[in-house]
């Protein structure tokens, strides 16, 4: 009996050791899995944006103002700013969202609602964090399915599927953990860029107070739950 236990333990050790040693290798890079995903994301992002049908604003001074904030955040946080494709859209809703392959959509309603650049930087930082943490593809993969996404890029599925994807990314929140991760990351970005995080918290607080009155117009808020709680932990973050 002792022999069996000993041999069984050795077998288990070999198994566990085998897994441990094999995890030392970067299989994702070795098998180019990440590059395959990147290509799908790139194709999907371009395709969605080219067929979205949103009313994009001209690249005037407002565009430059938003772009300058993104540049500042990117430069301070070693993010490749060239990857970010900013789109300002004429829409009264207070909303901003990220599409695949670093397409960032900002509604004019948000720009009118922020009191200063710090507040806007908070929202942009949050969306930038969703992009950098690969939340966009994670969410789409989970809710739409990777097979559907690939079908969109190959042209098997057309306009309706694309509209559904845009609708999902612009009107529904990521899950609670991803939202918090994006907030935490956004605060880091703000700190590195020398922007006061209290502006971001103030924005959330202000909209949180208005939440009961005009929920429909405050899309960004209604898709991001517990805004006052978020404002609280943003202020308390180390």
């Amino acid at each position: 009996m002792r022999k069996i236990v000993f041999q069984g333990l050795i077998l288990l050790l070999v198994l566990a050791g085998g897994v441990y040693l094999l995890t030392r290798m970067d299989w994702i890079r070795l098998l180019r899995i990440d590059r395959a995903t990147e290509k799908v994301e790139q194709k999907l992002g371009d395709l969605i944006w080219s067929q979205q049908g949103l009313d994009e604003l001209p690249k005037d001074s407002t565009y430059k103002r938003v772009d300058a904030i993104i540049r500042r955040l990117c430069a301070a946080n070693q993010i490749d700013q060239k990857r970010v494709k900013l789109h300002l859209v004429e829409n009264g809703e207070v909303n901003a969202f990220a599409l695949p392959d670093y397409h960032m959509v900002v509604y004019s309603g948000l720009l009118k609602n922020v009191k200063n650049d710090g507040e806007l930087a908070g929202v942009l930082g949050h969306e930038l964090a969703h992009m950098e943490l690969a939340h966009v593809m994670k969410k789409l993969g989970k809710e739409v399915g990777l097979s559907v996404l690939i079908s969109i890029t190959t042209g098997e599925l057309g306009g309706d599927a694309i509209k559904e994807v845009i609708g999902m990314l612009s009107s529904s929140a990521y899950d609670r953990k991803l939202e918090k991760d994006a907030d935490v990351q956004a605060v880091k970005y703000l700190k590195q860029a020398g922007i006061d995080r209290n502006d971001f918290a103030n924005f959330l607080d202000r909209l949180g107070k208005e939440e009961a009155g005009i929920p429909k117009e405050l899309s960004w808020l209604s898709t991001h739950p517990d805004s006052r709680e978020r404002a609280k932990y943003i202020r308390e973050m180390e």
Binding site: M1, Q7, T23, W27, I28, I33, G141
Partner: protein, 141 residues
Amino acid sequence: MNPFFYTPAEYELEKASNSYIMSLLVVMVGLPLPIINLLATLFFFIANRKSTYFVRWHCTQALLSQFSLFCLNSVAFWWTVTIILNKGEGITNIYVAYLVLVVLFNLLEFIMTIRAAIRTRKGVHISWWFYGPLTDIICKP
């Protein structure tokens, strides 16, 4: 060394060898579900449960080895299913590492099973590491 107190007859060698071949056959006909190998070996085991000691012993050893392989393969199978259904974290490094390990173990098991089938057919008693002593406890003359 043959621990058996008698020399197995020709038909016993054939049946004992077949117990190993059963699991291989299923792999060869291309059934990817991990349970199939185990079921094939289990059916053969049940069919021979009243056979001679030599046959029962090798059927048991084949079944035990298939059972542990089944556990390993099942984890890989359901992990893959969750990825396809987008329920998990997706393809991660640890998933690929586990898959590589499972492939290596299946390959090792495949080679060992072929060897055992051939050697048993020739009348040589093959007792595997861990599975042999375990079979000694489970299978009595």
